[in-house]
């Protein structure tokens, strides 16, 4: 019961604590409790993924998770000696921020060499995926560009537009891309960027 209440209460951190236009996400990806229908369990284990886009938002959300979890437990009458334990698991990952000067330089190279049509018009960043790539470039700082390459055919998009099967996102069991053009584009854009950065003087 308490576990379920905590799961719901955590969502109000995103909707009621964070500023409405500051992105934030809490997903309780895993919830394990109990063994049998007529035995009241005494333990629940919740695994959370938290996504934010500023250090202030991250601090606010992590603090709020502790506040909401402990106080929801207290409201249910849990003794101070038995309050939920909250601990970090997988290594945290900072957001990726592309180096502006490098980004502009490479966009120019790609536009010149491959034409302005190389840039996707469909892509809209709607999700809050995370990456551990920043560990390479944040400290010490290395100017870096992290870019996306598209993998879905026009035919698949057209079908989805007409109400056909939705495009399976990354991480879905249904995920698939067209490897031929996708990989060749990956190679071509990488090589053009590298030839520019490593150009002979």
């Amino acid at each position: 019961m308490l576990g379920a209440q905590i799961v719901l209460a955590l969502q109000t951190i995103i909707t009621r604590d964070l500023a409405p236009r500051e992105p934030g996400l809490i997903t309780v990806g895993s919830f394990h409790a109990g063994s049998k229908s007529n035995i009241i369990g005494d333990k629940a284990v919740l695994e959370l993924t938290v996504r934010t886009e500023s250090p202030e938002a991250r601090e606010l959300v992590l603090k709020a998770i502790t506040r909401v979890t402990l106080n929801t437990a207290r409201a249910a009458g849990v003794a101070d000696t038995m309050l939920p334990e909250i601990k970090a698991t997988d290594a945290p990952a900072p957001p990726i921020v592309n180096d502006v000067a490098l980004s502009n330089r490479l966009k120019k190279v790609w536009a010149e060499k491959l034409g302005p049509g190389i840039f996707s018009t469909r892509y809209k960043r709607g999700g809050m995926g995370a990456e551990d790539y920043p560990a390479f470039v944040n400290a010490p700082y290395i100017p870096s560009v992290y870019f996306r390459i598209g993998g879905t055919s026009d035919a698949t998009f057209a079908a989805a537009d007409k109400g056909g099967p939705a495009i399976a996102a990354n991480h879905s069991p249904l995920f698939h891309i067209e490897p031929d053009r996708t990989i060749r584009t990956g190679v071509e854009t990488s090589v053009l960027a590298l030839l520019d950065l490593l150009r002979k003087n």
């Binding site: 996504r51 190389i118 551990d132 920043p134 879905t152 996102a169 996708t182 090589v191």
Partner: protein, 216 residues
């Protein structure tokens, strides 16, 4: 006005076409001969985060064949490949090696049927449902072209195949394994990532492509 615009557009396209049709053709040949079978192999044989043993072996072998100086076992299964080519900056390009604990339902003829024991001893299906096989194959294709064009550039190229991107720990593990002090700190770095939400053959470069992650 319209005439001038059209003319300069035609000239620009012609110039771009001439400059890169050779590269484009070389990549197409390499894809047919080498990259397509490599991709299929990687897609059929995904491995979980921190357990990318065979994937790393294959990446090391491909990079050595391409003429790079290769070091394995960095940060666990990580691979670092270096091509020194005279004076100039060091540029790093990264690919990730791990698959996801997901049962592939793509319907593809080369779909993964792999089940692997994970780091806590559970049997788990595995699939490259995030496209890391694309990144790895693209890295090898890039290695081939850069090695073939040594006369066109100067500096050091560092290609990295990292473990455990999905568990946000692989990059950190490589850094903790003295990555820059052992191999030199790059002056620039790049990484690409495939997205099913964008059109094949196109790219997206935004200022802030990814959020911060905390797991509790």
């Amino acid at each position: 006005m319209k005439c001038l615009l059209l003319l300069s557009l035609l000239l620009a396209t012609a110039h771009a076409g001439a400059a890169d049709s050779e590269l484009h053709a070389a990549i197409a040949r390499d894809y047919k001969a080498n990259l397509a079978p490599l991709f299929e192999h990687l897609h059929r044989n995904p491995e979980l985060s921190f357990l990318e043993v065979n994937t790393a072996k294959r990446m090391a072998q491909e990079l050595r064949s391409a003429g790079f100086e290769v070091t394995e076992g960095v940060g666990g299964t990580g691979v670092v490949a270096i091509l020194k080519n005279g004076k100039g900056p060091t540029v790093m390009l990264r690919a990730d090696m791990d698959g996801l604990p997901v049962e592939e339902k793509s319907g593809l003829p080369y779909a993964s049927k792999v089940v692997q024991k994970d780091t806590v001893g559970r049997m788990s299906p595995v699939a490259h449902s995030c496209g890391h096989d694309v990144h790895m194959t693209s890295l090898i294709g890039t290695a081939h072209q850069m090695a073939a064009r040594r006369g066109e550039w100067s500096g050091t190229l560092m290609l990295i195949a990292q473990p455990a991107e999905e568990r946000t720990g692989g990059a950190l593990a490589m850094m903790k394994d003295q990555l820059w002090s052992r191999f030199g700190k790059p002056d620039y770095a790049m990484a690409l990532h495939v997205s099913s939400e964008a059109e094949e053959g196109k790219i997206d470069v935004s200022e802030a492509p990814y959020s911060a992650d905390n797991t509790l």
